[in-house]
Each structure stands twice: as structure tokens, then as C-alpha cells.
Amino acid sequence: MALTLFDKLWREHRVCGVEDGADLLAIDRLLLHERTGGVALKSLKENGYRVRDPSRVYAIMDHIVSFRAGRSRNEARSPGGEAFITETRAMASEAGIHLIDTDHAGQGIVHVVAPEHGIVLPGFSLVCPDSHTCTLGALGALAWGIGSSEAEHVMATGVLRATKPKQMQVTIDGTLPPGCTAKDIALFLIAGHSAAGGKRCAIEFTGSTVDALTVEGRMTLCNMAVEFAAHSAVIAPDDKVLDYVAAHAAGETLSDELTDYWRTLRTDPDARFDFQIRIDAAKIAPQISWGTSPEDSVALDQPVPDAAPSRALDYMGLQPDQPLRGLRIDGAFIGSCTNGRLSDLQHAAEILRGRTVPAHVRAVCVPGSKSVRRAAEALGIDKIFRQAGFEWGEPGCAMCFYAGGETFPPKSRVVSSTNRNFEGRQGPGVRTHITSPAVVAACAVAGEICAPIDLPARQRVDA
């Protein structure tokens, strides 16, 4: 029988069937972060269970850690947050699992760190109590977000009880117009098919546009799948992925047998999907959100839709039919598991070079991980950001979500390279517009919403 890539990954990890048509699936790697993972470790212990195989479990500090340059080891970005760091650290050490602590050279956002350190490889099953775990499907892994109790279940038993989801193929063909990125594909898809459009399916992204994306671009695309109400997302590993893995997998030599196996991880020609979506890449223009769901996104040169619901408009301080271009902004944020990787910072830096952010805009860049930060600094990208007037932060989730503590003020308008523009996501009353890093950079220097092509020519170009 012809199988999809997802079918093959599922079959590979299926231990046995259980009630209600569910299966027990073997889990190759479990990732925990201090916000939802610490409590899983704690309750596992309270319930009298042990971690069956500590070598498969990683705790990574990212959500609540301070992004202040020169932060101390336990410094949190919200009041009382230190406890999440110190308690997770203590419990991780006691359980004997891997710990990527705040002062570890590889620290960063869990979904950015996992591929950088070969924690996830093609064909792995990987779960994490965090909804954006779907990012890692970009390497051809079976990766999705779970609840904390399920994380406990995985630690205690090595398996997860799961029901196989329906499947959807999203095919994107053609050449992306200039200035368009994986983020624009994702927002275009969600705006066109609604935030529920993924119908809780396992999605496979295919097509010539996807093939042409870099591995980092593919991670951005898969990251946004959960905003599309997908169960998970996967992309068949190709030579780009194998090269990426060879460069990142902790110095291990990859045998021919292994790479040959990885090349079999693809959908058979006649395999069937429950749903199909086709997108013509030529129709995509740079996107930005206007409302309070990622589905509320339009091309940058479009106005707010006529029929936009008043609740979202009131929150965002907008009128129907109002142009987005030219709206004055107060803040700009570049970072997160969606767009906090090196190529994202490079795209932004190309715009920022030789330009500066006006005084009324607070602009912040927080690299997704310390590896990203070091690589950017080696290329002098930090200097470009700093000279433009951006803060250059210590890696973590930072201003992607509000957890109490310091953020942009209520009613401030913020352009952000993150994934969620929900009410209050970046702080009480903060009006978030999500878009690509290059557009965030352009808006930041213009002080208003605009596209990179709208910017006046640079007065001086750095040598």
C-alpha cells in the first residue's frame, strides 16, 4: 500500500494498538522547558515514578529567562520567575536528564536549540509540552506539542498514547516574488483558509517552493502550522536537510546506511491524503496581520478588510478599510522560535545597515539561541542592529509572550516577527502586528508600517 511520510513515521514508532483506535507510540526524544516542564518533573516525582531513560530527555531554559544583556544565572524577565529556573534546574539534575541551563553555551529557545545540537534528527519522534514543537517537522521528524501530564507519561513509560490524526497535503509551487519568505507563505495560507483550516491534521508541505526554501525557512513554515490548527507538520528530508544535520549533529559521523534510510522518508507517489490545498507562490505578497488572530493577515499594501469584526478592530485601534501602510508604530521585536534564526537576523540586518530607528520606537532583537547570537556576532550583525538603535538581547523567548514584568505599554503598536497576535500576547493591551523579520526591520526604521521597498535610499552605506 502506498504510504505518506507521516504514515511511515507513525508506523516506525507504533508499539501496539490500544482502546479507541489509539496507539502506543515510542518517543525518541522529550524536550521540557522551565515553564511547563518543571511541573511535569515535579509531579512525576510526587506520583512516585522515575524517568525510564534520562538520556532521551532534555530540559532547556527559555521561556522566563531574562533577555537583558549580561543577565545573571537565575535572572527572570518577570516577577517570581526565578523559581521556574531554579526548581527546574534542581529537578532536572536530580532526575539525571540533560540540562541546557541559562549559562550553557547552547542555551536558547527549545525549538531553535533542538536542531542546532542534533537533538532532533530526521525520522525521530519528538514531543514537548509546547505547542510550537511542530517546528521540528522541517527535518522530517514526527514532532508535536503535548500537555504536561503526557510529558510525565513519556518520562515514566517511554511511550505516548496517541490517536493517529487525519492528513493534509499543502503543495506550494512556483517562485516566490522578491521580498517574500516562509513567514509570508504561512500567513497567506492561514489568512486564505482560516486559523482552523488545518483541521487538526498532520500536514505535509510539498512542492517546488518548499524544496527551494532553506532548512531554516522550512522551520518557520512548520512552526506556524499550529496557528493553522494542524496536529503537526512535516517536510521530507532532502540533501539540504542531510547537509544541515551533518553540520549540526554533535560531531557524529553519519553512516551511509543512515543517510540512505533518511532518503526513504518520503511520501509514495500514489499515497492518499484526506485533504489537499494547493498554493501558487507567485500570488503571495509580503504579509502583515491587522487583527488578533494570525488569520487576520493581508498583503502589506492592502487595507484592513471592510468586514473586519469590531472586537478585533477596537483592540487594535483600527477602522475597517484603513490602510496599514503608514500606521505609526511604537515598538519592533525580532526573535522567537518562528523567526529568531541566523538567516532571519541576516534578512533584517540587510535592511538595517546604515539606517537608524527613530526615537519614538523601542526596537529589540533577541537571537533565538546563543549559537545564533555567536554566529551573528561573528558576522558583525550585532553591530548593525546596535548602530540602528536595536537592543541586542540574551537568547530566550523574550517578548514573544507576556509573563508579567516589563514589556511594551498598553495600546502601543508593535511589529513583531513572532507567531501569535492574540489579545494581550505581548502585554496587556499591546497591539501586535506579525510579519517577517525584514518587514519588522523596515517598519522599525521608518517608524511606521511599510515594506522594505518603501524605504528611502540609504544616506550612507557602511563600509
Partner: protein, 207 residues
């Protein structure tokens, strides 16, 4: 060990909004400790109190109305519990005293989290949820998980039946621990792992 849930009768609070996400159910700023406890106070904090961080009740919010003070059933709209995977949303509902959540549909991770924490999630067709919601307050519901039925005090002649998976039903009725249940299959699991180690050694060597 969870409190078994076989039948439940209680006041239903009606929160007829779609896409109530887990950050509305328990805002991140209200997750103050590494614990499943101490969350009830922060439940729906953004709506329940007059300002962020305050504890002055907003009289317009459904849980603050006098007739709902003892509510133990929550009725919501589409995609209830979507967004962040945080199980704290369910722990907060449970600590507040909710035992049943009825909605037109649920966020997937939230739905599973309910079952693992002794809260019964009931998905009903939109029309039935709206009919329940439109009845004059207070609405008292009688839920029978064994029979998979519920009756509203405002509509006592209409028996509504609902679907729930057999595994979820068993967990809730017996108050079972899913880990203990899976461990009854430990032999099969260990056999899988030893075969798998030969088949995919690289999964076992890393780390």
C-alpha cells in the same frame, strides 16, 4: 488517584465565546509557581477582575454573578481551550471547582488534558449548546457519564446524549492513572525497545 466521576449535578455558567484560548483561561502572569496548585485565583483573571494584577471582581463577568457562585459546569463555544498547551488551564478550572466543560468543540491538547485531570469535556452540536445557553439562569445540569446523557433543569423533558471515547470514559469513571494503565503493557513496550535498538541504533547512541 483522581476523584472518579460517574454522575454530576451542578450549576452551569455560560461563557458563550468562540476561541477561548488557554491564555484567557489562565494568563501566563498568573502562573506564579512550579506547581499544579494555587491557580484557581488566576482563572480567567483578565476577564474576572477589573485590571491586570488586580483582584477586584468585574461584576459583568459570568463567574462573578451571584447565581453562578457555586458553578461546577462551564458551557463554552467553538474551539474552547485552543492556543498554548499549558495544562495549567485545566488545573485552574479543576481547582476552582469545575468538573464538566461543555462546548461546541475543543482545542485538542486541552481536551486530552481535561480527561487526564478528571474533568469531563463534552462536545455537543452547536444548536444544542446554544439552546442550553439561552435558558434563563440559573441552569442546573444533571450529567450521567455512564449513560452519556445530560438533562437541563430548564428543559427537563429533553434528554441530550453525548459521545465520549471508551478510554476517556474509563479513565474518568474509575479515576484511573494513565501511567499505571500503560505500565500494565510494559513487557510489550520493552520488547519493542529492544527490537528498535537493533533497528535504529542511532536513536539509542546519541546523548
Amino acid at each position: 488517584m483522581l476523584k472518579p466521576l460517574l454522575r454530576h449535578t451542578g450549576i452551569a455558567a455560560i461563557l458563550m465565546r468562540d476561541n477561548v484560548d488557554t491564555d484567557q483561561i489562565i494568563p501566563s502572569r498568573e502562573m506564579k509557581r512550579v506547581s499544579r496548585d494555587g491557580l484557581a485565583d488566576g482563572l480567567f483573571a483578565g476577564w474576572r477582575y477589573t485590571a491586570p494584577g488586580s483582584r477586584v471582581p468585574n461584576p459583568d463577568f459570568v463567574l462573578n454573578r451571584p447565581e453562578n457562585h457555586a458553578a461546577s459546569i462551564l458551557v463554552g463555544g467553538e474551539n474552547f481551550g485552543c492556543g498554548s498547551s499549558r495544562e495549567h488551564a485545566v488545573w485552574a478550572l479543576k481547582e476552582y471547582g469545575f468538573r464538566v466543560v461543555i462546548a461546541k468543540s475543543f482545542g485538542e491538547i486541552f481536551h486530552g488534558n481535561c480527561i487526564r485531570n478528571g474533568i469531563l469535556p463534552i462536545a455537543l452540536p452547536a444548536k444544542q449548546v446554544e439552546r442550553l445557553a439561552m435558558a434563563p439562569a440559573p441552569v442546573k445540569l444533571q450529567v450521567d457519564l455512564e449513560q452519556q446523557t445530560l438533562i437541563s433543569s430548564q428543559d427537563p423533558d429533553r434528554l441530550i446524549s453525548f459521545e465520549i471515547g471508551a478510554f476517556a470514559k474509563r479513565l474518568l469513571i474509575d479515576g484511573l492513572d494513565p501511567i499505571a494503565l500503560t505500565m500494565t503493557q510494559q513487557d510489550q513496550i520493552e520488547a519493542f525497545f529492544s527490537d528498535d535498538a537493533a533497528r535504529r541504533p542511532w536513536v539509542y547512541s546519541a546523548g
